[in-house]
Amino acid sequence: MITLMKRDFLLVNKWFYITMPFILLALFYLFGFSITWMAFFILVTGLLTPFVYDEVNKTYIFFDSLPVKRKTIVQARYMNNLFLVMTITFIMFVLNALAHRYLNIDYALIIKDIIVLFSYLLFFVAISLPHLFRYHRYLSFVYTFGQIVILFFIFNFIIINPVINESIEQYKENPVINEEGETIIFSLTNQTFDSGLHLSAEMLMPWMTYIVLPLLAITTFILSYYLSVFTFNRRDLTGR
């Protein structure tokens, strides 16, 4: 399985790993990108890249000819994605902490935000992977991208906005004002979104949020793995 996990890392050009931190810093500092959404877009890139390579070169046929079980192929991808989710969460936490300290970024992610971010990312992976293993088709890539757009709107208009509006109502008497004396407008496109992250989770899951949410995410991830093994084992890799 380690060999198969290594394969996905070999796929990505080493310059990607070298330039990525700088690109992230630039996006974060120059354009004020939200940590949460940056994390999601990096995840989508990391999640889809091996599948896109597989589809373009039809390598799943080649690997199915090698002495590895299909179950192991699925396992390796799930392990890689779990590792990816943990890495992204960690990097975002560090990036935010550095930016908060040195770049005058107002909001510092707290441990609650990190748990929520990790859980949301894991949910996203768990929902996407069975589809990718079932079809290995370009349509499933569109589906995965579509998912993130839908998530964006759900978060923006259904979850975050009411939370933030409620907060704004509470703060009406005492508005949130930045150092320049301007009222902070909450929006998904800027870093203020990150401050709504754990509030959204508390709204969705008011009871023991920071235990139930990650446990639910991990359970979904495990169930997703079994579903992927089930579908991939029965899939015809070549057709007419």
């Binding site: 060999t3 198969l4 290594k6 394969r7 070999l10 796929l11 050009n13 390579y53 373009v56 070169n57 039809k58 390598t59 799943y60 046929i61 080649f62 199915d64 000819s65 090698l66 002495p67 590895v68 079980k69 299909r70 029965r234 015809d236 890799l237 070549t238 057709g239 007419r240």
Partner: protein, 288 residues
């Protein structure tokens, strides 16, 4: 003993299907699988390799299921294309593939690497079709498989490498219990190396047998037009008519023709002839 056994296989793939198919490959021999384009050779190989699963019936290799690790450790597969990451080099591929095999033979790998003169640090996307095929062979042979499955390996290759490939297979057959399944539509490749032949058309096996028996029993017969009538016609697998005479594939003892006065000629049928006439026999044979 059969190394590969397809028992009563039914598989539907769009408009194409295999219906109650039986197919076997004997241990220690080269079996040639021939058929026109679209006859189902690649699909049959996909069933054997486990890339597709039968709707009904059972596929066994070395008495195991195709996905069993024992099978995969002992089978080398060369497909019609190299399905590897275009951006990988042989060096990178080696890093991924070699650790997966228990009997990976590094010496053998280097031997074939030198023999095929393949660059180890060039991306696969820069390889020609011939180089890609050599690369596929390199990885298929380096773990010394007991069963080698080749799907159209010579298609689109120059005659020199085609010949070279046939010599490699002949060399392999020196090893005891080495088995090869060779699918192709270039039948001349098989004249040289095959021990058994299976002709496939539209998902069904039309003919199978020992190469020597086929050579002994099948003849191309040419004769004058006036000799041909309904009774003579029935003797042939298939007959092609021309303004001056006929050419047909005859299966059986040639003694039957000995007492005929007409000028007729015989020659041993090649695989290509057998394939052509057997496939044509499916179509309606029209008398002039």
């Amino acid at each position: 003993m059969n190394v590969i056994l397809l028992d009563n296989i039914t598989k539907k793939l769009g408009d194409f299907y295999f219906k109650q198919l039986f197919f076997s490959v004997k241990k220690g021999y080269v079996t040639g699988l021939v058929g026109p384009n679209g006859s189902g050779k690649t699909s049959l190989i996909s069933l054997i390799t486990g890339h597709i699963q039968p709707d009904h019936g059972q596929v066994t290799i070395f008495d195991h299921k195709p996905h069993d690790l024992y099978v995969k450790q002992n089978v080398g597969i060369v497909l019609d294309q190299l399905y590897m990451y275009d951006d990988f080099t042989i060096h990178k591929m080696h890093q991924v593939i070699a650790p997966l095999y228990e009997q990976w033979n590094e010496e053998k790998f280097n031997f074939y690497l030198n023999k095929f003169k393949l660059p180890t640090h060039k991306k696969i996307k820069t390889f020609s079709k011939g180089m890609k095929m050599k690369c596929s062979l390199l990885f298929a042979l380096s773990h010394e498989p007991k069963l080698l499955i080749l799907d159209e390996p010579t298609a689109g290759l120059d005659p020199i490498f085609r010949k070279e490939l046939l010599y490699i297979i002949q060399d392999l057959m020196v090893r005891e219990e080495q088995t090869v399944l060779f699918s192709t539509h270039i039948t001349t490749d098989l004249d040289q190396i095959a021990d058994y032949i299976t002709i496939l058309d539209k998902g069904a096996i039309k003919l199978e047998g020992d190469m020597n028996d086929l050579k002994e029993n099948f003849h191309i017969v040419r004769g004058p037009k006036q000799m041909m009538d309904q009774d003579v016609h029935k003797l042939f697998v298939h007959v092609e008519h021309s303004p001056t005479g006929f050419t047909g594939l005859y299966q059986g003892d040639l003694a039957l023709f000995e007492n005929l006065d007409e000028k007729i000629s015989f020659e041993q049928a090649k695989i290509e002839d057998i394939l052509y006439y057997v496939i044509k026999a499916n179509a309606k044979d029209v008398m002039p």
